[in-house]
């Protein structure tokens, strides 16, 4: 008996020490205080719960990196709440159901409110509101810190009202409002293309608003759905010199005598994007079809007013730049999807899509430079993309034991572009047109030899006649396999996938291969115990030809190699003691082993150390956590939790951080 208890405790400790669920934050607590029976008030049943408490964090190491990837702070929060009000007979006076859920309200970096209010057959109103704190410390590159820092707040809200949601005649009204505000830090290069780089301070002010109006009705058994929307966009972000006279941190070998004493830029951009969407769809016993047409006509008008004053080559310089113009992008799409189901076991699906976009506009650029005199340039740009694609799939369930699918995809893309410059009365430009075709075949087979067990195998092979970029799909194939055993208390699945892509050109070739293997399991032997664990390995290897200048010498016979081997593990165990105390422990670890090298300077191939040192970027990110939740009574629950975040970059040790976070809270529910 003692042995059995010891064994149990050992297993439990092992699980707690070694594992936990995914990267889900430790708070809010997922456990309700009691049963969701609710309170009956008049004709309504009300189920409510909320959790409020204090969240803390203590960060060591690179605080900016922590704010970039985790960002939880200190303070009191309404960690989470949910409310469900339901009329018991479906005939409420003003509403039949209200569903409200919130998360992180108070001061968490990720706050949200989701609300639905509906009255059967009359209306349904959906609202979502989100506020995210976004912090980015800037790109980290071989030369030091980048200068695109952002410390902004993004707010998004959507309102959708559907009138007569259960009828054949519906009306849709919608409104969305999004904004991004806050300080940012950018850079500008002055006074010529080889000049110095100076830091700029900006106050980001961007606002989007969208209004929608639509309707759905039925004619001869075919549903017709249309929507018209108007989107307005404003970006009034300006920029000023962050520190007068001081170049940014990047230029190490700065030209002597270069300074920027003042800089001011205003570049408001205002635009609108009206759009139409019309769709028809019908579902019959043997035949299903839908078609869609969309059109959007985005327009932007802009002005850039920029003035700089400084010194270059020991001469005083003044530079004023004024740019104004407008840009348009009309986009039209059409889709027609046909499905035939001659028997319940066979589905044949065909879809055709057409996509046409044109981007055009002009920009008048005027520059006064005390060194180069006045210049005026008119840029005129055009980009047209037309894509026609067709996809046919066949899906057949041969028997309960097995079935298969097969498909063929063909697409044809035509890209037309022109860049034209009018400079001092002379016009130059070039018109280009190119087309490419993609063909791919897809097949898959699925087996269900036993009801809880399913096996899926699939493959896709394709070729693109003229990829637009060296890294795009050229000659590619995908192979995937998945096996899953799913019973009431136990689920385990394993999958493997491989993707290969080769893209060759006259001077260079690009190849990539990625392989992913994963296994995961979920075990709930009874209501008081849950074990959840998984492992994933993702291997990526790419090689691409590069060409660049090194000390005035043009090098074009080298390759850029990127190699990543990411092992991820997650596991979580939950144990409930006497339906009163809920324990949870978890662990997540992501580690990129790179190619196994110990330092950055021992790379693959003949490229200089600059390129060898970035062929791989080993990191480790881990997050153990533990939570205890004690039920005080059917309405109250006391919670406390701890979560550690640790980030380590092997080749950039200054980026690492260690964060101890936690919370304590009270859950109330009825």
């Amino acid at each position: 008996m003692t042995m059995r208890i010891t064994t149990r405790i050992t297993i439990l400790l092992f699980l707690i020490a070694g594992a936990a669920a995914a990267q889900v934050p430790v708070a809010p607590s997922p456990d309700p205080a009691g049963e969701r029976t609710g309170e009956n008030v008049s004709n309504y049943n009300i189920v409510d719960s909320f959790e409020t408490g204090y969240r803390y964090s203590a960060v060591g190491g690179n605080d900016s990196q922590y704010r970039s990837s985790v960002n939880y702070g200190n303070g009191i929060r309404l960690l989470g709440s949910s409310l469900l009000v339901t009329s018991k007979n479906g005939h409420g006076l003003l509403f039949d159901q209200i569903t409200l859920s919130t998360q992180g309200l108070g001061n968490d970096p990720y706050e949200s409110v989701v609300l639905r209010v509906e009255k059967n057959r009359i209306y349904r109103y959906d609202m979502s509101w989100r506020q995210n704190d976004y912090f980015n410390p800037g790109l980290v590159t071989g030369g030091g810190d980048g200068q695109h820092l952002l410390d902004t707040q993004n707010r998004m809200q959507d309102h959708n009202l559907t009138l007569f949601p259960q009828s054949k005649l519906k009306f849709f009204l919608g409104f969305s409002n999004s904004s991004q505000t806050g300080p940012s830090y950018s850079s500008i290069q002055q006074f010529d293309p080889n000049g110095n780089i100076f830091p700029l301070f900006s106050n980001v002010r961007r606002v989007w608003r969208e209004y929608r109006l639509g309707n759905e009705f039925q004619v001869f058994g075919i549903r017709v759905n249309w929507m018209h929307g108007w989107e307005d966009f404003k970006d009034d972000t300006g920029a000023t010199l962050a520190t007068a006279g001081v170049p940014g941190a990047i230029p190490i070998a700065q030209p002597p005598g270069v300074s920027l004493n003042s800089f001011q830029a205003n570049d408001p951009t205002h635009g609108t994007n009206p759009f139409w969407r019309a769709a028809i769809f019908a579902d019959r016993k043997f035949f299903h079809m839908n078609g869609r047409f969309t059109y959007s006509g985005g327009q932007h008008a802009f002005v850039v007013d920029e003035s700089a004053q400084g010194v270059a080559s020991s001469l005083s310089r003044i530079q004023n730049v004024v740019t104004l113009g407008d840009a348009e992008r009309p986009v039209a799409t059409g889709n027609l999807n046909l499905n035939f189901t001659p028997t319940s076991k066979l589905t044949i699906a065909n879809s055709t899509s057409v996509y046409n976009v044109r981007t055009l506009g002009n920009s008048f650029f005027s520059e006064f430079d005390s060194a180069t005199q006045t210049t005026s340039v008119l840029f005129y740009n055009y980009l047209g993309i037309r894509t026609v694609a067709n996809d046919t799939n066949l899906n057949y369930q041969v028997s309960p034991l097995w079935g298969f699918m097969a498909g063929y995809h063909y697409s044809d893309r035509l890209i037309t572009s022109q860049q034209q410059f009018t400079f001092a009365g002379a016009t130059s430009g070039n018109l280009a047109e190119q087309s490419n075709q993609l063909q791919s075949g897809q097949t898959g087979v699925r087996f269900t030899p036993w009801k809880p067990l399913s096996v899926l195998l699939s493959a896709e092979v394709g070729t693109n006649s003229h990829p637009f970029t060296p890294t795009a799909d050229g000659n590619f194939h995908d192979l995937n396999a998945r096996i899953q055993y799913r019973a009431k208390t136990f689920q385990i699945s394993a999958s493997a996938g491989a993707n290969y892509n080769a893209n060759s050109a006259s001077l260079t070739s690009y190849g990539s291969q990625s392989r992913t293997y994963s296994v995961s399991g979920h075990w709930t032997p009874h209501g008081s115990f849950t074990l959840d664990a998984g492992f994933n390995r993702a291997h990526t290897y790419t090689i691409g030809g590069i060409a660049y200048f090194l000390n005035q010498q043009f090098l074009q016979d080298q390759s850029s190699i990127y190699l990543s081997n990411i092992n991820s593990i997650y596991a979580g165990v939950r144990y409930e003691i006497r339906k009163r105390i809920d324990l949870y422990a978890g662990y997540t670890r992501v580690q990129d082993l790179g190619d196994g090298r110990a330092s950055a300077d021992a790379g693959i191939g003949s490229a200089p150390p600059l390129f060898q040192g970035v062929q791989t970027f080993p990191i480790a990110f881990q997050s153990p956590m533990a939570r205890v939740s004690v039920k005080i009574n059917n309405r109250l629950r006391r919670n406390a939790g701890y979560q550690y975040y640790g980030y380590r970059s092997d080749f950039a040790s200054l980026l690492g951080y260690r964060a101890n976070t936690g919370y304590t809270s009270l859950s109330v529910s009825f």
Partner: protein, 311 residues
């Protein structure tokens, strides 16, 4: 006995046998009152008023085959007469996937967001509605999902689950967004970027734009100078959407390798088909300032004033 008599006798016996067999067939199934269902299934019924399917019951206007328990499970007469049993009623746990899909779509095809469900990858791979939705044991008040949405999707897409555990990721686990902000699990129209082939199940923003622009609208433009790689092939030319070990969800840990893999001048690619412009001689990669491409090319997603995205 003559052949004719024997034949007549055989026919008579056959007809009599058929008559007897028909007489012994079960009576045709019939609908019963919902009260009969709740007698044995009180737990399912007592909280059913919270279920979205209760709307049709509450209306009182629907015929039995379109509402209540029998709207999905078929006539319950035989089930009641036989005191239960899965063989006497439509039990979804016993149905093959294609029949479950057909049963649900009898009502739920009436929504544009589900118009492509029959050709979606989920359906083609043998998934049924009940693989994600649980009518009587839902863990979410909306959409009757069998688990919270993120956990549900990650249950199968374990490779994506670990991407959301990476140091740089979209904040799905934190609750700031959900899978359906970008994806439609019921199938979508063909992508309006790339070659209109992949990715699948990614919904479109603002009627026909890439889903990323729903939130990152400042990258949308239109710009006089578009970064063609992004406009032609989509955001995933440089970014990976779920999570990454690289900052800003970039495909490479340092920006200059990302840029140089395309900007190498190799023939056949780019706007003119003669290669995407390699860097000019003024760039010296030995100088750290040129290793930070976006320190000068600040408007890398598109610019109205500079063809090199410098302002």
């Amino acid at each position: 006995m003559s052949f004719a008599v024997r034949s007549a006798l055989l026919v008579t016996i056959f007809c009599a046998g058929a008559f007897v067999a028909r007489a012994q067939e079960k009576p045709p199934n019939h609908f019963v009152s919902n009260d009969a269902c709740k007698t044995c299934h009180p737990i399912a019924w007592n909280t059913f008023y919270r279920n979205a399917h209760f709307k049709s019951v509450a209306s009182g206007k629907e015929t039995p085959e379109n509402t209540g328990c029998q709207g999905c499970h078929g006539p319950g007469g035989n089930h009641v007469d036989n005191h239960g049993g899965k063989s006497t009623i439509v039990a979804f746990s016993e149905l093959p996937a294609e029949r479950i899909v057909a049963a649900c779509l009898r009502c739920h095809s009436q929504k544009l967001s589900r118009a492509n469900i029959r050709s979606s990858q989920h359906t083609l791979n043998g998934m049924a509605c009940t693989s994600c939705h649980s009518i009587h044991r839902a863990q979410s008040d909306r959409a009757l999902l069998s688990k919270p949405q993120t956990a549900l999707c990650e249950g199968c897409h374990t490779d994506v689950r670990v991407q959301f555990a990476m140091p740089f990721k979209h904040r799905v686990e934190e609750g700031a967004m959900s899978c359906t902000d970008c994806h439609n699990p019921h199938g979508t129209f063909a992508p309006t970027w790339g070659m209109a082939s992949r990715p699948r199940h990614v919904d479109q923003a603002m009627a026909n734009e890439e889903a990323c622009l729903n939130c990152h609208a400042d990258k949308r433009g239109p710009f006089i100078f578009e970064h063609l790689g992004a406009r032609v092939d989509g955001c995933e030319t440089c970014h990976t959407p779920h999570g990454s070990t690289n900052s800003r969800l970039l495909l490479r840990p340092v920006v200059f390798t990302l840029c140089l893999e395309c900007h190498n001048g190799a023939g056949n690619f780019g706007r003119l088909g003669s290669g995407i412009a390699a860097q000019t001689q003024s760039h010296n990669m030995a100088d750290p300032r040129y290793q930070n491409c976006t320190a000068c090319h600040v408007r890398i997603h598109g610019s109205n004033a500079s063809s090199t995205f410098a302002r």
